[in-house]
C-alpha cells in the first residue's frame, strides 16, 4: 500500500511538471491559435536566468532567501522582457498571416532563445537551490504498515503549481482579459474591430507563458540541474496537450497528471513483465490512441464543420 502510494505520488509530481509545460503550450495556443515550439526553450532560458540571478543575488545580499526572492523577481521581469521583444520583433509583423507562418516563427524563436540564452547565461550545468527542505518525511505511519516516504520539496512544488494553475484558470475563464484572449485566438480581424489590441494581448500571453515556464524551470531545475536538456523536456509534455486538448487549461493539468501517474505506475507494475522501459513510450502511445479516437483531446473544443 505504502509503496503504491509512493509510486502514485511520484507520478503525480512528474505529472505536475508536465502539466506546467503543457499549460504554457495551451496559453499560447489559445491566444494565437499556434503551437508554440519555443515553450521548451522558454523553460530553459527561464531556468538559466533564475540559476544565474540567484547565484549573483545570494552573494550580493548575503542571504539565500532574499537572494532567491530577488532572483525570482528579476527572472519574472526578464521573461516579461522576452515576451515584449518577441511581440515587437516577430509577432507584430505576422498579424493576419497564415498559421503555418506563425508556427515556423515559433520554431525560429526556439533556436534564437536556445542560442542566446546560453550565450548570455553560459552553457555549463547550473543548480537552482531555493532552499526547500530535502529531508524526506514519513507519512501515515499509523495508518498502514511502514507508512510512506515523501519529499517535502515535492509537496511545496505541487502547492505552488496548483495555486498558479488555479489562478490562471480563473483569470482566463472569467475575466475580460481571458475573453479577449480567446477572441484573439478565434479571429484576429474581428478582435481588432472590437478594439482588442492584439499586440498587448500577445505580450500578456507570452509573459504569462514565460512565467509558467519559469516556475516549471525552477521546479525541474532544482531537482535535475539546469542544462540544455531542459529544452527537450517540453517534448515530453507534447502528449500531455494532445491528451488534454490544446485549447483547455484544465485539460493540460489533468492530461499532465494522467500521464505522469500512468507512466510511473505502469513502469513499476507492468514493467517487469515486458522488460521495462514503459516510462519512455507510455505517453506517446497514449497520445497516439487519443489522436485516433478523440483527436480534440479530453477537454478540447470539438470542431464541427458545416457542410
Amino acid at each position: 500500500m505504502g509503496f503504491f502510494l509512493e509510486t502514485f505520488l511520484g507520478g503525480l509530481m512528474t505529472g505536475l511538471l508536465y502539466a506546467l509545460i503543457g499549460l504554457g503550450f495551451v496559453l499560447i495556443f489559445k491566444a494565437s491559435g499556434v503551437f508554440n515550439f519555443a515553450q521548451g526553450a522558454m523553460v530553459l532560458v527561464a531556468a538559466l536566468a533564475m540559476a544565474r540571478f540567484s547565484g549573483w543575488a545570494t552573494e550580493a545580499l548575503g542571504s539565500m532567501v532574499l537572494g532567491n526572492v530577488l532572483a525570482f523577481l528579476m527572472s519574472v521581469a526578464f521573461m516579461i522582457a522576452v515576451a515584449i521583444v518577441i511581440e515587437r520583433l516577430v509577432l507584430r509583423h505576422l498579424v493576419n498571416q497564415e498559421l503555418t507562418t506563425l508556427l515556423m516563427a515559433t520554431l525560429g524563436i526556439t533556436y534564437v532563445l536556445d542560442g542566446l540564452g546560453q550565450m548570455v547565461f553560459g552553457s555549463s550545468v547550473y543548480t537552482i537551490d531555493v532552499g526547500m527542505p530535502k529531508e524526506p518525511l514519513f507519512l501515515f505511519e499509523g495508518v498502514f504498515e511502514g507508512g510512506m516516504l515523501i519529499n517535502p520539496d515535492d509537496l511545496i512544488a505541487a502547492g505552488v503549481a496548483a495555486t498558479l494553475v488555479a489562478t490562471l484558470a480563473l483569470l482566463f475563464q472569467y475575466t475580460k482579459v481571458g475573453r479577449a484572449l480567446r477572441a484573439v485566438a478565434d479571429d484576429h480581424q474581428a478582435a481588432q474591430s472590437v478594439g482588442i489590441p492584439l499586440g498587448r494581448i500577445w505580450v500578456v500571453v507570452w509573459a504569462v507563458a514565460g512565467i509558467v515556464a519559469l516556475v516549471a524551470g525552477i521546479v525541474w531545475g532544482s531537482k535535475l540541474g539546469v542544462q540544455f536538456s531542459l529544452s527537450t523536456v517540453a517534448l515530453r509534455a507534447l502528449p500531455v496537450v494532445i491528451l488534454g486538448g490544446l485549447t483547455s487549461v484544465p485539460g493540460a493539468i489533468i492530461g499532465g497528471l494522467i500521464i505522469g501517474v500512468g507512466e510511473k505506475v505502469s513502469e513499476v507494475y507492468l514493467g517487469p513483465f515486458v522488460g521495462g522501459g514503459i516510462e519512455v513510450w507510455f505517453a506517446y502511445v497514449l497520445a497516439l490512441v487519443f489522436l485516433l479516437f478523440r483527436p480534440e483531446g479530453l477537454f478540447g473544443e470539438k470542431h464541427i464543420d458545416r457542410v
Binding site: L171, K176, V177, D186, Q189, A190, S193, I196, E301
Partner: protein, 273 residues
Amino acid sequence: MNDMTQTLETPVAGRERIGGVILDLQNISLRFGGVKALTDISFDVREHEIRSIIGPNGAGKSSMLNVINGVYHPQEGRILFRGALREKMEPQVAAAQGIARTFQNIALFKGMTVLDNIMTGRNLKMKCNLFQHALFWGAAQKEEIAHRIKVEEVIDFLEIQSIRNTPVGRLPYGLQKRVELGRALAAEPELLLLDEPMAGMNVEEKQDMCRFILDVNDEYGTTIVLIEHDMGVVMDISDRVVVLDYGKKIGDGAPDEVKNNPDVIAAYLGTSH
C-alpha cells in the same frame, strides 16, 4: 418587400433627425498591387442617417468599409471623422473612436458563446486590467456585472435570449449574423458599419434584420453605413445611397435619384445578381 414600406416613417419625417457631416471621405484611392479597388472616391456620411453603399460584386464596397475602420490604408485621399483629419490608424483605434462593424463573411469568435461574443463588444468600455483582476477580484467582478447588464439589453433587443449560452459556431447563419450585430451594438457605437448583414437570409430573417437596423438608428440615433444587395431593402431604408462600380463612384443621392440615374441603371440595375 412592399410590406416593408408601410412600416416606415415617411422620408420627410426621417430627414429631420439627420445632423451634420460626421464622416467625410475625400478622393480616396486604394490599390492592391495592380488592382485598383477604389479610385478617387468622395462622399460623406451625416449624423444619424442610414447611408447605403451599393454596387456589383467586386465594386469596392467592402474595401470602402475597410478603409473607414482602418483595416486598409488608402494610398491617396483624406478622411475626416468628426471634423478631425484622420491619420493612418489601426482598427482598434477606430473602435476606440466609436466605430463598430460587422463583416461580409461572419467574423464571430466561433468557440465562444453568444454571451461571451457580445461581451467582447464591451471590451473597450471595461477598465480593469489583468493585474487588477488578479488582485481585486471583487471590484473586477462588479465591473463585469455592470457590463453584463448592458449586454443583456442588447440580447433582449435582438430577441436572442434563448441562445445566450450557445457557442456561436453551432448557430444557423441567420442567427450568427444577428449575434455579430449584437457584438457591434454592445460597443454603443456612434458609427455602425454593416457589410451585407442580410446576405443569404430568407425573407423573414431579412425583415427582422431590417427592423433591428431601423430600430437601432431610431432609438439610439446610431449613424449607419450599410452595404446591401437587396435593392428593395436599400431603397426602403436608406436616407442616401452611394453607387460604386469597378472602384469608381457612379451615383450618389436619395434612393429615388439613384434609382433614376441612367449610369446606375446601365451599370448596376442592368446586370443580374
